[in-house]
Amino acid sequence: MKITLFVNGEEREAPVQGPESLLFVLRERLGLLGAKDACLQGECGSCTVLLDGEPVCSCLVMAGDASGSDVRTVEGLGGEGELHPVQAAFVEHGAVQCGFCTPGFLMSTVHLLEHNPTPTADEIREALSGNICRCTGYGAVLRAVESLVGERRS
């Protein structure tokens, strides 16, 4: 079957076979390699995208069932040669080690801050609890997010 997705504001068509996932379609059919292919069971969050505004593990979304939906991926953050403020904060605070989990963390953080501009420390941890960093770089990630919250508070 053929599906239509609105990826980062752009209408894209892709062929889909059987039960393949949205993650597979993004990566293998549309060439968007930001969302990562890792655990494939919803544990790690490295494939997190915003599907109709909600953060989901794209590995657990059947692509056929996403047809007609809005999809925001890490590629849609920032502009030409320009970082999104969340990306800039991650760079600033060294919240990237190997970088594999980073797109997922970025999408979860973007969703959090768009819905709750001044989350508490607990709310930040809760919002990021579905994203795993195997380098264990959580401290820097939390400092990056907290820096954005601090700016908004002041």
């Binding site: 059947m62 056929g64 969703h111 579905g130």
Partner: protein, 265 residues
């Protein structure tokens, strides 16, 4: 893949193809696809069925996500929803899916058992509602017929005002329950306790309930006996997640702790 946008259309599709695989949030089915090479021939995707997403009073549509339940008004239901997977899983996963999968560790089950919820099933043949323990009949087994769709959870008109849920696992997110428990206390002081992940299906510890409900004063000794009876009544196994012994112990401790929280409320 069929993507019905209304209930009648969904029931028609299922009647025409009772062997079809139903897709709700996908958080269980896609793990089967990704890990066990499951290739469902015919999928009926329910995400667009508006009727399933309705939550009005005591009628909780099967397609309501754990994200919405987490933000909803029912205390223990919100507590358990908060323990389901991660924000990403809660945004997709539905209560109907949690029932359809019928895992012994299903996070919503202790709540539904404690309040004696009914499950509404619809097909082209009609609608029936069954009590939770007539619906969950074994490990990953339900009494839902092939042409039936889980359409809603029906909560009792009066939910006990004091209700607490808790779950034990190796971390506080992304965890399948080692033991889960829900305790409710009615206005007249009667307690109910339901335990998950300690038997083929969720279970009520009826002897523990009877014992504590016969005690007008919930003394230290009575609370200890309540926990002991729960530990005795559960039917856990040893598997890769925990041991029978630990689960028995934890079921008793958790039940007593939740009862104390209810009584203090």
């Amino acid at each position: 893949m069929e993507r019905p946008s209304g209930l009648e259309e969904a029931l028609g599709a299922l009647a025409a193809n009772p062997e079809a695989t139903l897709l709700a949030g996908g958080t269980d089915l896609m793990v089967e696809v990704n890990y066990h090479s499951r290739r469902p021939e015919h999928v009926i995707a329910l995400r667009r069925v508006e009727e399933l997403r309705q939550w009005e009073g005591t009628r909780l549509g099967a397609g309501v996500t754990f994200r919405r339940i987490e933000q909803g008004p029912v205390r223990a239901l919100a507590q358990l929803a908060r323990t389901v997977g991660s924000p990403q899983i809660r945004a997709a996963g539905t209560i109907g899916g949690n029932l359809g999968t019928a895992s012994p560790a299903g996070d919503s089950h202790p709540f539904l058992a404690a309040c004696d919820a009914h499950i509404e099933l619809q097909s082209k043949r009609g609608t029936r509602t069954v009590l939770w323990n007539e619906f969950l009949v074994g490990v990953k087994r339900t009494s839902c017929a092939d042409d039936e769709l889980i359409t809603a959870v029906i909560l009792p008109d009066q939910l006990p005002p004091r209700q607490e849920f808790a779950k034990i696992g190796v971390r506080s997110a992304m965890v399948i329950a080692t033991v889960s428990a829900c305790v409710m206390v009615d206005d007249d002081g009667r307690a109910r306790v339901a335990l998950g992940a300690v038997g083929p299906t969720v279970l009520r510890a009826r002897r523990a309930e009877e014992m504590i409900n016969a005690e007008s004063v919930k003394s230290e000794a009575a609370l200890a006996e309540f926990g002991r009876l729960v530990s005795e009544e559960v039917k856990p196994i040893t598997d890769h997640r925990s041991t029978e012994e630990y689960r028995r112990h934890a079921a008793g401790v958790l039940s007593r702790r939740l009862l104390e929280r209810c009584l203090a409320a």
